[in-house]
Symmetry: C2
């Protein structure tokens, strides 16, 4: 049974796409079969894998706005073995308005996935920076979620709302979803601010039990790899950004025996 | 007549809040009267000014969800002269659903502002990372907009949609709005990637004419200042982040005579 993991946080620019892309690539390198789903109209995950020529008809937009759309025909192979992608397109920004009046609007993605997840070990869903209908669809379709948090002062502002929405989805739509981890990203060792934010996370009773051991530090190679359309573990395999995401993949894989 | 400027970009984490906060503080230091409006449920701008104890009843949420709400009673003074704030609260994330079925839902903020802008030289509106109803409200109420863009590969992905929505708002709701500038933020001098993105922006016909001369470089003092709840120009007046926002304020103020 596949682990379907939403990568989400309504705070913008915290490393959601970077985590989906590089955790996915590192899990595939470990031998797992991985499907990445780009659920952000920005389509950063799609472009970060070097695929810029996707039409709206060939993207998840087309799946979601058709009541009976299914994902299988839209899945593409990437250049890397065991790493497939369901791409996005900028037209997805209009999907939420189109979906609001549909029957079963929260379960649209979950129904469109059908039994496709059975063919994979991991399905990672990259979410846009909001807690709106698309993100609710991701949580409804997921067995778990990972919350990247930037080691910056603003990181804690929206966490109450995120945990509130998570509890509501768990109570009312998808009782199976669990919080698989909180990942500290863009940790800057040149200043105290990152350590201060980390300490605040470690003393927050709701988050501390879920803090992943892996911490991803600021690493310019990560941004450069996205310009090249290549996961950082293949762009510069020896850099500390690549090592951090390999470490994260090992930590997530180790949860498999005892979630 | 006040300049009402929306600071917006649906890409997350590009420096919208940092720009609203520090450009506002620097304009106030130049002697302009400034009102900052926090239109993001994350309320980062509110917290970045050291105000964490705002209730939802005392925030812009309460203004917008009442058909006849007006902003004046909700405006607070900050610790700095000529710098006032209309604060936000996390409950604002529910406002969009509440506003969707209202009459005149796009002009709610503009009507709530009334003639309050006449008391100021600048009104800066910090937007959340989306092009949804709250951001449309900001564009409808504004005379101008500034688009911060991070000097990173993903920066250009959503720009088509942003310019499309801008044209639609200009044609159908607010013909007065103009693009006051595109601001390059978080420029990293240690790598070529920032220069490459800057060159792509300079060769994009739609953006190049609006590129501001001021470029804000990566500066950890900016993040530290937000932890302290103080604009960077007051937190560490000599750092290059503070100087960049002072330079930006001078550049924006210089537009006053010839927009
Ligand atoms: N560890 C890191 N070191 C340096 N740069 C990073 C790191 N992680 C991410 N970045 C950069 O920070 C920016 C934001 O990251 P990313 O786009 O993954 O965040 P996001 O949460 O997906 O953003 P959005 O909210 O817009 O979806 C990107 O330009 C990315 O290249
Ligand atoms: N020039 C800079 N140098 C270093 N850090 C910066 C700079 N500008 C912004 N930051 C940091 O980057 C992060 C993102 O900035 P900010 O929150 O202002 O972006 P935003 O566009 O408002 O995000 P959102 O999309 O969530 O509203 C913050 O943690 C901030 O401290
Ligand atoms: Mg993203
Ligand atoms: Mg912001």
């Amino acid at each position: 049974m596949a682990r379907i993991i939403s990568i989400l946080n309504q705070k913008g620019g915290v490393g959601k796409t970077t985590t989906a892309l590089n955790l996915g690539a590192a899990l595939a390198e470990l031998g797992r079969k991985v499907l990445l789903i780009d659920l952000d109209p920005q389509a950063n995950l799609t472009h970060g894998l070097g695929m810029s020529d996707i039409s709206s008809k060939g993207s998840i937009y087309d799946v979601l706005v058709n009541q009976h759309g299914v994902v299988a025909p839209y899945i593409r192979l990437t250049r890397w073995p065991r790493l497939d992608l369901l791409p996005s397109h900028i037209d997805l920004s209009g999907a939420e308005i189109e979906m609001v009046s549909m029957y079963g609007r929260e379960t649209r993605l979950s129904r469109a996935l059908g039994d496709v997840p059975q063919k994979y070990d991991y399905v990672l869903i990259d979410c846009l920076p909001s807690l709106s209908l698309l993100t609710i669809n991701a949580m409804t379709a997921s067995t778990e979620m990972i919350v990247p948090m930037q080691a910056h002062p603003f990181a804690l502002d929206g966490i109450d709302k995120l945990l509130e929405v998570y509890s509501l989805v768990k109570e009312q739509i998808n009782p199976d979803i669990i919080l698989a981890g909180v990942l500290i990203t863009m940790f800057d060792t040149r200043t105290n601010i990152s350590r201060e934010v980390q300490e605040r996370l470690q003393s927050d009773g709701r988050l501390a039990p879920h803090l992943l051991k892996t911490v991803v530090r600021q690493n310019i190679k990560i941004a450069e790899s996205q310009g090249a359309g290549v996961p950082v573990i293949h762009f510069d395999p020896a850099c500390h950004g690549a090592e951090a995401y390999r470490e994260l993949a090992r930590e997530i894989a180790a949860q498999e025996t005892s979630p």
